[in-house]
């Protein structure tokens, strides 16, 4: 694989999608307000939970805010990269234009996962980082090298898991053609990533760590920030992320064998 070639291509992708998205400037402003309101809303909801109780699932309000911050960053990444590209896959398959992608002399998964970009998600990512730095201050977390590396590793693993989940569902489009609603189901499940895993009952906790690993996506990185996480949890997250990435890749290659174009 030629890395330089892929970098050049990615620059072109960036250029074209930014150019087309900046056509709708007012839209970007509306999206920014939406992101801010949605963060305010979830903090409001969290404050309702905490108004008569100091701890939820063993987390203080200030600590639970870290989860919100990480969720916001990840949601921004989803809106910037995963959502616009993977909704495109559905369109490619339904209209048969996936043929053109497969004919190109580059990796089809690369093309399909990174072609588009929605700049309004950047603002959400920034918003998340602001909140995260605020949380680091109010929780009096010491920044040192090992801590920064660990948190970067866990957050990148979360991104990989999230990407694989999205890519998994989009791949099933090859068989089911319409998967919009499956994505909605995933979105609603991801919503619980806004809250500490320990605040749910035991059976739900099992469900969200074994079947859909939402627990890994936000709770473990937040625990790293608070210095609560044990090493085995971080290792487990790395393994889960690797397994998810490899399976989603294998699954895509497997699914392509069943792709039979449209209207031909």
């Amino acid at each position: 694989m030629n890395l330089g070639k892929y970098l050049t291509i990615y620059k072109k992708f960036l250029h074209t999608s930014l150019a087309s998205e900046l056509e709708y400037k007012a839209n970007i402003l509306v999206d920014l307000i939406t992101a801010i309101l949605s963060l305010v809303g979830s903090i409001f909801l969290l404050s309702i939970f905490f108004q008569n109780s100091g701890y939820i699932g063993g987390w203080k309000f200030e600590q639970a805010l870290i989860i919100q911050a990480i969720y916001t960053i990840l949601n921004g990444i989803t809106n910037t990269w995963f959502n616009p590209n993977l909704t495109e896959i559905v369109k490619h398959i339904r209209e048969g234009t996936l043929d053109f992608v497969l004919l190109k002399p580059i990796d089809s998964q690369f093309f399909i996962s990174l072609k588009k970009l929605n700049p309004s998600g950047f603002l959400e990512i920034m918003l998340g980082f602001f909140l995260l730095f605020f949380c680091i201050r109010i929780n009096q977390i010491n920044l040192n090298l090992s801590f920064v590396t660990l948190s970067l590793v866990t957050i990148s693993c979360s991104i990989c898991i999230l990407y694989s989940l999205w890519f998994f569902i989009s791949t099933t489009t090859i068989w089911f053609v319409k998967t919009w609603n499956a994505i909605e189901v995933l979105r609603s499940f991801l919503y619980i990533g806004r809250f500490p895993l320990n605040s749910f009952s035991f059976s739900l906790r099992i469900f969200f760590s074994v079947f859909i690993p939402i627990a890994f996506i936000t709770t473990i990185p937040s625990e790293v920030f608070l210095g609560l996480s044990q090493l085995w949890k971080i290792l487990l997250e790395v393994i889960v992320a690797l397994v998810f990435l490899i399976t989603s890749r294998k699954f895509w290659l497997f699914a392509l064998k069943f792709y039979s174009s449209a209207s031909s």
Binding site: L37, N52, N181, S188, I192
Partner: protein, 264 residues
């Protein structure tokens, strides 16, 4: 004669849309599943004993969230997304020639979808009662009828609001981002994630003047047998419909004058 004609039109529209929706029953089932967020919230509430502070017993709270789930299922509106797509594809032009406001078509689509969705919602409720058998109850007939009426009114309010936004498509191509913005207060203030009773006083002082608590909180309280002001709630719902309907009429007649038949 005239009413007969209208009846026939509505009946035909409903029949066509119902058979259309039946084709997509898998998607509708998935969509019904994506509405289970209230149950996750219930889990947080009861698992952390948060309901003690607002004086609602576990059983009443679980009934509240079940009803919130039901009300949400039967008041989901997506007219802005359909209309945006139709107007971008130029499909609105033939609809405008017909002697029937195109919004009747969307209205029938929503009603047909609700009929298709009903059995799936019942299945989810059935599982809910298997897990929480103690919260099973039978509301008396008049309360049940009233809550069905208020759920329908809530659906009407949301349908009118979204139709007004959809009409903005005549001026801007992407009206759906405004809808996504408006969805945020609907999500957090309607009572889907937390009953309005639990909101802090500074929110409760003004929230009853907005349409939001009448969308989910009021019908859900009514159905689940929680305390609520029945005549006041129904009155406010009707008042909002009377406020929104002329606005829709106005923006529709202004918009159709601006219409420039895209894509044809």
């Amino acid at each position: 004669m005239i009413s007969n004609l209208i009846n026939r039109k509505i009946f035909t529209l409903l029949k066509v849309q119902y058979s259309n929706m039946l084709e997509y029953r898998v998607e509708i089932a998935l969509w019904a599943i994506s509405g289970i967020i209230p149950f996750f919230m219930l889990n947080i509430w009861t698992n952390n004993n948060l309901n003690e502070s607002i004086n609602i017993s576990d059983i009443l709270l679980s009934r509240y969230f079940l009803c919130a789930f039901f009300v949400r299922q039967f008041s989901v509106v997506w007219v802005v997304f359909s209309f945006e797509e139709d107007s971008l594809m130029g499909k609105v032009s033939p609809y405008l020639i017909q002697p029937l406001n195109p919004f009747f078509r969307y209205f029938a689509q929503h009603l047909a979808e609700q009929i298709t969705r009903f059995p799936f919602a019942l299945i989810i409720a059935f599982f809910f009662f298997i897990i929480n058998p103690e919260s099973l109850w039978i509301p008396n007939l008049s309360i049940l009828l009233l809550s069905i009426v208020s759920t329908f009114l809530s659906f009407l309010i949301q349908f009118l609001i979204q139709s007004i936004i959809a009409c903005l498509c005549f001026w801007t191509e992407k009206a759906s981002s405004i809808e996504r913005l408006l969805f945020i207060p609907t999500l957090f203030l309607s009572g889907l994630l937390a009953p309005v009773v639990s909101f802090p006083a500074y929110v409760k002082s003004w929230i009853y003047l907005t349409p939001f608590p009448y969308l989910i909180d009021f019908p859900a309280n009514l159905m689940s047998g929680n305390e609520t002001n029945i005549s006041g709630g129904l009155g406010m719902q009707i008042l909002w419909i009377f406020l929104l309907y002329p606005l829709f009429k106005k923006i529709w007649s202004e918009g159709t004058k601006k219409y420039t038949a895209m894509g044809s």
